[in-house]
């Protein structure tokens, strides 16, 4: 039997993830010991996941405003104007810990959660991405996690019916015990059709809609903020199971319901379910809220108030409805076969009151639950600067061709076909650029307008220099969008770090945030939504700092985007940007020489902007036939990827630079692109680049069935057939997944 008035012991407080001084704060706030239900509510509201207590101070420093921004951080998702009265609504969110424990369901419910965030605001989801980080391929559990996570992402998104158009997959031993699953979703709505969670009006019905409440993910929000230890197996039964079918029905029902004008406020039940959603609706609206748990549709018998308040059952919504339109609303619920119930009402008391079996189980000040949550200015130390490694200090490979083949076939650079073929990227019929290019592009509202999406971060750079790494993540997303001819308009971020109570981890966080902020300001690329995931550690070993950047760009005319594949033999190949042969923290240094060393390549934000604007202009004016940005693996990998995507070879001569060939080929200098142009347009393009102050170097021609690279002297440096490149590129992933580990 559930005892709401059990004495609150220090053990209970600790088990709820609350520190002694946080508990003192609770006592002061309410003037008495909390009931058991209240303790549960505080633990949900005041954990890292919901309260952002370690990160809030720093998040405030990010640029969140811009001409197009309609709603920034603070709502379920960011809302950005894309013209013609349309808005794009998007966000990215992590489901890291659940995905490590139960990869399929963890990833699936992660996708479900982010889709719900988007359609709660009245937007129909039109695109999804997923940014995945796994442990070392030779770590025993990695294969199991990869297989479950990918199937789970697909299982949910495919059934729901949203195209997955992009993402990332990387492997690193630092994710061995803690994978990252960051899910992104974007939707489209009309600017005047956006719904918020702020309740309005006193005495109005609070309606519960969607799946029934069970004991799913009990304390999941607490789990998501807790470090793993070796008995994390014990936490297993908290796994939530996703039901994409119910979510699809919920989507259609919500959008139809919103059309009736009955919805005054709406909030999905995500982490800490009923608690967070109810408190947020009331607190935002400056209202009180009273819940009667006897009315909550339950899946299991004898659920206590405590359990109902903390359950993380999926596919549920809470709404304040206009009573005058209740009948119309009810018709929609019945049509779609959804459970619904009036579970409470708004009040003017500013209290959050929870009743069960006629008894008051919780009675708390609603604003203070959020506003008075702890806020920490955690001590931090800056990461030590690493030395810059001169190109000359990095040995050449035994054989350039073999080095290129090794890189193109390595876990981080090989083909992601095994992954993306498990995701539906055709559904909705609007996909213009599928996964595999620099950014996914979808047509919007029948075109010609479209949106481009990309997810990026280079964690090894962030580890080596958090500030430069933070800048680089933003710059790379900006670059990927520019490469397809999209105007980057806004960003969502998903900040994955270790334990913020350790000053060096907090230092990574602070460094990355400063870098992200500076880059977003310089590129006029505001952050409109995001998510923080801390305590990503196993046995004291933190993940690499991984602030994933989800970038959204506006495409004026989807007919004019270009891909990265070489298009026609004879096209001239031009390298844009400055090459210094930067090999510190490069994939080349790691994969060929086994060294993860040195300072990462710095990002010159002014250059970045100039080069990106120039490339976007080339694409939108139809002057280039293919574009690819340079990132991991540098020029050589970019050329190889362009050859693979176009199934065409190229003859390239390395320009005179005074650098060893391997530095020119594999260096990871930032702000660079490769473009191809019809031979007749070459001179004009070079001239235009010069006028725009963008370094442009003609390096060769598209054609043949081989990728041939020569030195200026004419000496051959490497010749590889496109077929061989393809074999190596395609081989690793399926082979890795085929063998039982």
């Amino acid at each position: 039997m559930f005892n709401n008035h059990i004495a609150i012991t220090p053990d209970l407080v600790r088990a709820h993830g609350l520190k002694p001084d946080e508990y003192e704060r609770i006592l002061k706030l309410i003037g008495r010991p909390p009931t058991m239900t209240e303790l549960g509510i505080f633990s949900a509201m005041w954990n890292e996941h919901c309260s952002y207590k370690s990160s809030r101070l720093w998040l405030k420093t990010l640029p969140t405003k811009g001409e197009r921004v309609i709603h920034g951080p603070g709502e379920n998702a960011g809302v950005v104007d894309i013209g013609d009265g349309d808005v794009v609504v998007f966000k990215m969110e992590s489901h890291n810990h659940p995905s490590y424990i139960e990869p399929y369901q963890g990833a699936a419910t992660g996708v479900g959660g982010i889709l719900r965030d988007v359609f709660t605001m009245g937007a129909r989801p039109i695109a999804a991405m997923n940014s995945l980080r796994f442990g070392s391929p030779d770590f025993p559990r990695t294969q199991h996690v990869v297989s479950g996570v990918v199937a789970g992402v697909g299982g949910y998104g495919n059934s729901f019916g949203v195209p997955t158009v992009g993402g990332e997959v990387n492997f690193h031993p630092r994710y061995n015990g803690n994978c990252l699953v960051n899910a992104f979703a974007a939707g489209i709505a009309k600017a005047d059709g956006i719904f918020l969670s702020e309740a309005k009006g006193v005495g109005l019905p609070v309606v519960y809609l969607g799946s029934k409440t069970g004991r799913d993910g009990m304390g999941g929000a607490t789990m998501a903020s807790a470090e793993f230890d070796d008995d994390s197996n014990e936490k297993r039964p908290t796994v939530q199971v996703g039901d994409p079918f119910s979510e699809k029905v919920l989507l259609e029902a919500c959008l139809e319901l919103m059309q009736t004008g009955a919805v005054i406020a709406i909030q999905d039940m995500g982490a800490a379910g009923l608690t967070c959603s109810a408190v947020e609706m009331g607190a935002k609206g400056n209202l009180g809220l009273e819940l009667d748990l006897d009315k909550v549709p339950c899946r299991e018998a004898h659920m206590s108030a405590y359990e109902m308040m903390l359950s993380e059952s999926q596919e549920r919504m809470l709404m304040v409805l206009d009573p005058a339109r209740h009948a119309a609303a009810e018709a929609v619920f019945i049509k779609w076969g959804l459970d619904f119930a009036v579970v409470g009402r708004t009040t003017d008391t500013l209290r959050f009151v929870v009743k069960h079996h006629g008894e008051v189980m919780a009675d708390l000040p609603i604003k203070e639950l959020g506003d008075e949550a702890p806020l920490y200015d955690r001590p931090w130390v800056a990461s030590p600067k690493l030395p810059v490694i001169a190109p000359a200090d990095v040995p050449a490979p035994a054989d350039l061709a073999e080095a290129l083949l090794t890189l193109i076939g390595s876990p981080d650079l090989c083909s992601r076909r095994w992954v993306v073929e498990q995701y539906d990227h055709y559904v909705m019929g609007n996909t213009v650029q599928h996964p595999g290019g620099d950014a996914g592009v979808v047509r919007v509202n029948g075109g010609p307008k479209g949106l481009a999406f990309t997810a990026d971060v280079t964690p090894r750079y962030c580890e080596a220099d958090p500030y430069e790494g933070g800048k680089q993540a933003v710059a790379e997303s900006w670059r990927n969008l520019s490469a397809v001819g999209a105007l980057p308009i806004a960003v969502t971020d998903n900040l994955n770090f270790g334990n913020p109570e350790r000053p060096e981890i907090m230092g990574q966080f602070v460094g990355c945030l400063k870098g992200i902020g500076d880059a977003c300001r310089a590129l006029d690329y505001p952050i409109v939504s995001g998510n923080v995931s801390l305590y990503n550690e196993t046995n004291g070993q933190a993940i690499l700092p991984t602030p994933t950047i989800g970038g959204v760009g506006l495409v004026a005319d989807v007919e004019k985007t270009v891909g990265l594949g070489f298009r026609a033999a004879g096209d001239a190949i031009v390298l844009l940007g400055t090459t210094t042969g930067w090999l510190g923290q490069s994939i080349y240094l790691r994969e060929i020489h086994g060294r993860e060393e040195g300072a990462p390549p710095p990002v010159d934000l002014g250059e970045e902007k100039r080069h990106g604007d120039f490339v976007r202009g080339l694409v939108t004016s139809g002057r280039v036939s293919a574009v690819h940005d340079l990132s991991d693996g540098g020029l050589a990998i970019a050329l190889a990827e362009m050859a693979l995507a176009g199934d065409l070879g190229a003859e390239v001569t390395l320009p005179e630079s005074g650098l060893p060939p391997h530095a020119t080929l594999f260096g990871e200098d930032q702000g660079r692109y490769v473009v191809t142009v019809a031979a007749a347009g070459l001179d004009a393009l070079i001239a235009a680049a010069k006028a725009a102050n963008v370094p442009a170097t003609f390096v060769g021609h598209v054609g043949g069935t081989e990728l041939k690279v020569s030195a200026l002297t004419g000496a051959s440096l490497c010749t590889i057939s496109v077929d061989t490149l393809r074999q190596r590129h395609e081989a690793w992933f399926p082979a890795f997944m085929a063998v039982a580990h």
Binding site: Y104, P237, D243, F245, R299
Partner: protein, 79 residues
């Protein structure tokens, strides 16, 4: 030796399939069927002749592959 393994969801774990099936049965006029939970069933042949050894092998198969022990229970019947 023939064996049958039944894998079912642990109590309290959501079973969307069972839920949908129950709804469908009701809408086809088959009232009075409730609490539907769907599980899996594997029928197979195990080479061992010693029941204890067979059971040990199948337990390993369940733990490693047939059941997701995070959310499922399994039950082995030897013929």
């Amino acid at each position: 030796m023939k064996a049958r393994i039944i894998v079912t969801l642990k109590t309290g774990v959501l079973d969307p399939q069972g839920k949908a099936i129950e709804g469908a049965l009701k809408s086809f006029g088959l009232a009075g069927i409730d609490g539907v939970r769907q599980g899996k069933c594997f029928e197979l042949e195990v080479a061992e002749t010693d029941p204890a050894a067979a059971r040990a092998k199948l337990t390993e198969a369940c733990e490693k592959l047939l059941a997701n022990t995070v959310i499922e229970n399994y039950h082995i019947d030897l013929a």
